[in-house]
């Protein structure tokens, strides 16, 4: 995760990337994290929830959902909060939906 984050130039944004990944990984004990050269994927098996975090040169991109229907570009505290809020909300909605379907 740290190695992937090194693709981001500005140190504050790199720090946000690590904090974001850490916060998402703690949302659920069931999350599986896949680290690829250009992105980190968090997925809850069988739950249909997925977040892909892709570091770019000056920012990182947060894509939410299997179809990556939501993209948030993060380069500041404000955009970090927006991306994390959306991720938390989507994760909780996914968990609620699973419970309803069960």
């Amino acid at each position: 995760m740290f190695a992937v984050g090194k693709r981001i130039g500005p140190r504050p944004t790199r720090r946000l990337f690590v904090r974001f990944c850490r916060a998402v990984s703690r949302l659920s004990d069931r999350f599986e994290m896949e680290v690829a050269p250009f992105e980190v994927t968090f997925r809850e098996p069988g739950a249909g929830f997925c977040v892909v975090v892709s570091p770019l040169r000056d920012l990182f991109l947060v894509s939410i959902g299997e179809s990556r229907s939501f993209d948030v570009r993060v380069s500041s505290d404000e955009s970090f909060i927006s991306a994390l809020d959306l991720t938390v909300e989507r994760y909780l909605a996914s968990a609620s939906k699973d419970a309803s379907a069960a």
Binding site: R19, D29, D77, I81, L84, D85, A93, A95, S96, S100
Partner: protein
């Protein structure tokens, strides 16, 4: 014919017991009950559970102070309708201490750092109304559990609204966890029982456990997750029953202590 007295509601009974004017135990200040919620794993949403329990206590007619140690998201701020920048601030700064109030009955504060709670300023108490303190936290791994619980007992004293040299030990403890975390829940029950042998013990999980001992099992509703996404405290009869039951247990234990002392 003698006038028949109307039966008293649980709220009245709880109020009377919790408002007992004699200090019955050194750790139990007048009119205050303290409940600790230890969550064994992230399969159970700590903030959701804590917000639902706090709101249920408020419906029982008590003032509620809620302290949450938030090792992971969401925080109780999510369920009390806080702005995203506030409820997510521990993700940016572990030492951030966030506080707020809900419906005029629940005061809450949360932080990822235990030491930050020392900066919390309790408000002027309304002593006419019984006060319930709820302390919610993720149960730490076994090796660090004892010092963590000791430190938590100290810092949670900030909610007692009066001098609290011995912090805020629990009158009742609830250990909660997901169905897959039986081993973690077992560790948690053992740790809480050893740390607070005098507290009434409950565990809320859909697992059976040998370590339960005197802990009373509460079956978790299977559909509790359905309200995880709503940005409001869950309203479920299960929480109301739990809050009423906890008040009753604490009240009866105190009454028993008073009766015992009077003999």
């Amino acid at each position: 014919m003698p006038e028949r007295r109307s039966s008293r509601s649980l709220r009245d009974v709880s109020h009377l017991f919790l408002s007992e004017s004699r200090p019955v135990r050194s750790e139990a200040p007048r009119g205050t009950a303290c409940v600790w919620l230890a969550v064994a794993d992230a399969a159970l949403n700590r903030a959701h559970f804590a917000a639902g329990l706090a709101a249920a206590f408020a419906r029982q007619g008590t003032r509620v102070s809620l302290l949450e140690v938030c090792g992971n998201l969401p925080t109780v701020g999510y369920y009390f309708g806080m702005e995203s920048a506030e409820y997510l601030s521990p993700a940016l700064d572990r030492a951030a201490l966030v506080s707020g109030a809900w419906n005029g009955t629940v005061r809450y504060c949360f932080s990822a750092s235990l030491s930050s709670f020392r900066g919390y300023l309790a408000h002027e108490p309304d002593r006419a109304v019984p006060h319930v303190i709820v302390v919610a936290f993720p149960y730490p791994r076994r090796l660090s559990a004892a010092p963590f619980l000791s430190a938590l007992r100290d810092v949670s004293g900030v909610l007692r609204e009066e001098a609290a040299p011995d912090g805020c030990p629990p009158d009742a403890t609830i250990v909660a966890g997901g169905a897959e975390g039986a081993e973690r829940i077992g560790d948690c029950v053992t740790g809480m029982r050893e740390a607070f042998p005098g507290a009434a013990g409950f565990f809320a999980a859909n697992v059976s456990m040998r370590e339960a001992g005197a802990f009373e099992r509460l079956a978790l509703p299977v559909d509790l997750r359905r309200s995880w996404a709503r940005r409001m405290p869950p309203v479920d009869p299960w929480f109301d029953d739990l809050a009423a039951g906890l008040l009753q247990v604490v009240s009866l234990r105190r009454k028993g202590t008073v009766s015992g002392a009077a003999k």
